[in-house]
């Protein structure tokens, strides 16, 4: 029941807010949303405390018939790969609700409701074990995000919202055909775990692999289908950017581990070079692109793509360090990129500009805020003792284990990462006060302090003591790798 609660508590609360909330009672709506978000987070805590780290099996399983005609089941469960994303999603939603407190003034109930519903849907994606249930959640997340970008976004929001929706839909519709194909190959079952065991011929595996690649690479996003992300990020409101970067991109990465690798292992090994090449291009080329951005949000958006390159790189070198590193990087990026976007949001709320050139010397007027911002900047470029370091380090180690030269190329990304992040930090926060806008800045209030503080604690904790995270993953990842190493071609 725990997972159902984690999914449907925020959805029910969000629907309630949509139905009952009015702008005249915006204050009450905010408190209701916060209560709902915190409650939804609290119900995910037993997942962490009650998780059995000594097995790779699915836990907290719920399995009932849903649509009998197609044998679609309401089958939920988490293993070491997916468990952490459930509390992470709920946690980020709490942060988003806090971040919107005074900033969103119109249609507060719709804003809060959309994020709560989105949170429940994304938890659904991470815990679905039935292919069609996964697809329903995966697609349904588009609706609230489309509205969030389109209603509360920047000047070019309509274009960004359409691009976001159609790009993602295009990818996932091909996955739908793949799911139907698997349904008939497995004699009428949508069970993902049954598909893992299903023998498949080489040709079928290849096209399934590419159908899934279409869906997940758009969502990650991988080079060259990443172009929707900078647009979406720049136009989305702060909360939208946070959820997009912190959770939504992970849906794609997660899909690789749940579908592509175990269902088509032979094709995955055969085409790993392609994914590795795309990942390295993302890491190096997108890193360079990030360097020249003038808009802070765009810079962080490109930095996200580069970081996601690390994740997919880790997944496709097929060793434990790589895959676990990718997973750790996913969680760490959730905290760090979320925090980066919040920092930009804090500045934007005051000055209404995202241009790096509009700032300079912010540290003089906002010392507390600058401390946070510099800390998250450091985490973004992978400073040891922050969450950003652990995942990148593991992936690089894993890559070196597989191939020294690939590892070397991946490691250069750390240099680019440091370069674009620190350069931005220097231009925005340090130096003399650049203009009157900056002179008029007031430091962060308690609300913003709490929101950034929570993320800073999480980032630091994960950087200093990542063991709880890797312990959870260990068995599931080894099991997955063992599975991927075995051929599924029919003999």
């Amino acid at each position: 029941m725990l997972l159902s609660l984690a999914i449907f508590l925020p959805i029910a609360c969000g629907a309630l807010l949509l139905a009952l909330g009015r702008d005249e009672q915006a204050h009450a709506v905010r408190w209701m949303a916060l209560t709902a978000a915190v409650a939804s987070f609290l119900v995910t805590i037993p997942l962490i405390t009650g998780f059995d780290t000594s097995t790779a099996a699915m836990q907290f399983v719920e399995n009932v018939a849903w649509i009998e005609r197609f044998n679609i089941r309401y089958h939920l469960g988490v293993d070491g790969i997916s468990m952490w994303f459930v509390p992470l999603t709920a946690f980020i939603t709490v942060i988003v609700v806090i971040s919107a407190w005074e900033v969103i003034e119109t249609r507060v109930n719709q804003y809060m409701g959309a994020f709560l519903i989105l949170s429940g849907l994304m938890i659904g994606v991470f815990s679905a074990l039935d292919g069609m249930l996964f697809y329903v959640f995966f697609e349904a997340t588009l609706i609230p995000m489309y509205i969030i970008i389109g209603v509360w976004g920047g000047p070019n929001r309509v274009y960004a919202a359409f691009k976001f929706f159609l790009y993602t839909l295009a990818g996932s519709l091909l996955m739908l055909i793949a799911l139907l194909y698997l349904y008939y190959q497995s004699a009428g079952s949508f069970e993902i775990q049954a598909w893992h065991k299903l023998p498949l011929a080489g040709g079928a595996q290849t096209w399934l692999f590419f159908a899934f690649l279409a869906a997940f690479s758009v969502k990650v996003p991988m080079w060259p289908v990443h172009t929707w992300l900078p647009d979406a990020h720049v136009e989305a409101p702060t909360g939208g950017s946070v959820v997009l970067a912190a959770i939504m991109l992970k849906l794609g990465c997660y899909g690789f581990l749940r579908f592509s690798l175990p269902i088509a292992p032979d094709a995955a090994r055969q085409w790993a070079w392609l994914i590795i090449a795309m990942s390295l291009i993302a890491v190096v080329y997108i890193g360079l692109v990030a360097l020249v951005q003038k808009d802070m949000k765009k810079l962080v958006a490109y930095s996200s793509i580069a970081h996601m390159g690390f994740v997919t790189l880790g997944f496709f070198i097929f060793n434990e360090l790589g895959v676990s590193g990718g997973l750790v990087q996913m969680i760490a990026h959730g905290f760090v990129s979320g925090a980066m976007f919040l920092c930009i949001g804090v500045l934007y709320d005051r000055v209404h500009s995202r241009e790096i050139a509009s700032y300079g010397g912010v540290v003089n007027t906002m010392p507390k805020f600058a401390a946070f911002a510099v800390f998250f900047g450091m985490a973004n470029c992978g400073l040891p003792a922050t969450a950003g370091f652990v995942g990148e380090w593991m992936v690089i180690l894993g890559t070196v284990q597989a191939n020294f030269w690939l590892g070397l190329i991946a490691a250069t990304a750390l240099i680019f990462g440091a370069a674009y992040t620190l350069w931005m930090v220097k231009r925005v926060y340090f130096g003399d006060i650049a203009n009157d806008d900056v002179r008029a800045l007031t430091d962060i209030n308690t609300r913003e302090f709490i929101m950034l503080g929570l993320l800073a604690v999480a980032t630091l904790y994960m950087g200093l003591y990542p063991k709880p995270f890797t312990d959870v993953m260990h068995h599931s990842v080894t099991e997955l790798l063992k599975h991927v190493a075995t051929s599924k071609l029919p003999v």
Binding site: L18, A19, W66, I67, E68, R69, F70, R107, Q110, M132, Y135, V136, E139, A140, L142, I143, Y146, I147, G150, V151, R157, V158, A161, F162, F165, L166, L169, A170, L173, L174, L176, I177, L180, Y181, Y183, Y184
Partner: protein, 493 residues
């Protein structure tokens, strides 16, 4: 099979009697709002719907009127849905008709008679009965389109509808006469038997099938026989558009099943190819042309064409390599598609009606601007309809598309797999113009900030309609099972 068996046709008889009673009662109604007529009509519809659902529940297949009529679960289920659709239509239509001087007895009487025509088609077991029902429905609808006889656009639409509809009936009748010539019978089961035995003159049969399919395509509004759809949908008063876009689609689906599947499944190889062409062209024309529309009624008309294409796609996969194993799956998917499409389409046109005010038809896309600020609840409901038409989960439209796609993939034939991929790609194009409506409602600023005013019953039914799209989306199993049950029984006889 050769007795009258009146019991089986009680619902139709009741409908006929009530149609006449309403016509008589209306003569003495002095109320401007036509309340007695309205409630009497709704009551008759509710009783007829209840009777059909009751018969469906009993699950028998009986023949009546000396084998002219078959009362089977598929007919009863669809007739029940058609009655419900008409009830919803009249709820939406009443306030609209009231301010446009259309609220006369004719509106209700003609609606009842068109429904009677639909019910006759749904339970036809003979070519002539199908034709009879079709004409009864069509003539009522022609008259309804022209109900505002001093309104130039409406009368033009009525003329177009009448001329092209008559042409389509001619096609169908010509095709049916060919079938009669080749098989020597007008009775559907007998035609089936003759074709199963192998007729000497197959080319006459195939020639007849071509005309029958063309006639059906006209009635369904499938491209390239779709020319009348946008003009009539746009030109007719929106309340009548709702009536044309709703229940008649169920009838068109049913006669496709009766004629092509129950009568001529032996010729499936021939008509399936035609349906594939029709559906591919419809999907392309419907989705591409809809992008260019700024009039929402026209856009929805093209969306109808595309949706009919999608539904026909499912009908093409019933017989694979002379094997009818997948027939039940394919046709019940098509039926599910038709039923859910009607449910969604009632809501979308209902919303267009809702936006219209005295002296102003809210037909342009820009009339929806900022609806989310004016009436957030209705905007939300309309969003559900749009996402359902676009096929995004968790709305019912997704499962309708899923059902059709799985029917195609289940054939294990490469050609059908390509068709499925094609269908998916065009639905992506379709998603654009449905999203645009959501965009207009949520992202644009309203030109008119007044909230929508609607009577309580309209608000209630509209909310119910939206809820149904969502609830059937979350739990589609029940409705799917009903459709499967109806089709299995229809194929068994």
């Amino acid at each position: 099979m050769n007795d009258m068996n009146w019991l089986a046709v009680y619902p139709e008889i009741l409908l006929l009697v009530m149609g006449c009673v309403v016509a008589l009662v209306d003569l003495w109604v002095t109320d401007e709002q036509r309340r007695p007529t309205y409630w009497l009509t709704q009551l008759s519809l509710a009783v007829v719907a209840a009777m059909h659902f009751y018969y469906f529940d009993a699950g028998f297949t009986t023949y009546a009127m000396q084998g002219m009529v078959v009362a089977d679960p598929m007919g009863h289920l669809l007739a029940g849905f058609a009655c419900v659709a008409t009830i919803i239509t009249l709820v939406y239509a009443r306030p609209y008709a009231g301010v446009r001087d259309m609220l006369k007895g004719e509106l209700f009487i003609l609606s009842l008679f068109s429904l009677l025509g639909i019910c006759v088609m749904l339970s036809a077991n003979n070519f002539l009965v199908i034709y009879l029902g079709l004409e009864l429905m069509s003539l009522s609808l022609y008259a309804l389109v022209a109900l505002r006889r001093d309104h130039a656009v409406s009368t033009e639409a009525a003329m177009k509808y009448f001329v092209l509809g008559a042409l389509a009936s001619g096609f169908l009748l010509y095709g049916l006469s060919m079938m009669y010539g080749a098989t020597g019978s007008l009775s559907i089961p007998e035609v089936f038997d003759v074709i199963a035995k192998g007729v000497p003159n197959r080319s006459v049969l195939v020639f007849g099938v071509v005309f029958v399919v063309a006639g059906l395509a006209f009635k369904l509004g499938a491209a390239p026989f779709h020319m009348w759809v946008p003009d009539v949908y746009q030109g007719a008063p929106t309340a009548v558009t709702l009536l044309i876009g709703g229940a008649p689609k169920l009838a068109a689906f049913a006669i496709t099943i009766r004629l092509l599947v129950e009568g001529m499944i032996g010729l499936a190889v021939d008509w399936q190819q035609m349906l594939i062409v029709l559906s591919v062209v419809s999907l392309l024309v419907g989705n591409l042309a809809a992008i260019a529309q700024t009039n929402i009624k026209r856009m929805l008309a093209y969306s109808t064409i595309a949706n009919m294409g999608f539904m026909l796609l499912a009908m093409t996969s019933g017989v694979v390599n002379n094997n009818t194993l997948s027939a039940a799956n394919a046709y019940s998917s098509a039926m599910f598609y038709a039923v859910t499409y009607v449910l969604t389409t009632l809501g979308t046109f209902g919303m267009v009606i809702l936006l219209a005010r005295q002296g102003h038809e809210a037909e342009e896309l820009k009339d929806f601007a900022g609806l989310a600020k004016r009436s957030p609840w209705f905007a939300l409901v309309m969003t559900l309809f749009m996402f359902s038409l676009a096929g995004v989960p968790p709305t019912v439209g997704f499962y309708a598309k899923l059902a059709v796609l799985q029917a195609l993939v289940s054939t294990h034939v490469d050609g059908y797999l390509y068709l499925a991929i094609f269908a998916v790609v065009v639905s992506l194009i379709g998603a654009f113009y449905y999203l645009r409506v959501v965009k207009v409602m949520f992202f644009d600023e309203p030109t008119d900030t007044a909230p929508l005013v609607a009577p309580a019953d309209v608000r209630f039914v509209m909310s119910l309609n939206g809820a149904a799209v969502l609830v059937f989306g979350l739990l589609p199993g029940g409705l799917m099972a009903l459709c499967a049950q109806a089709i299995v029984k229809a194929l068994a006889t």
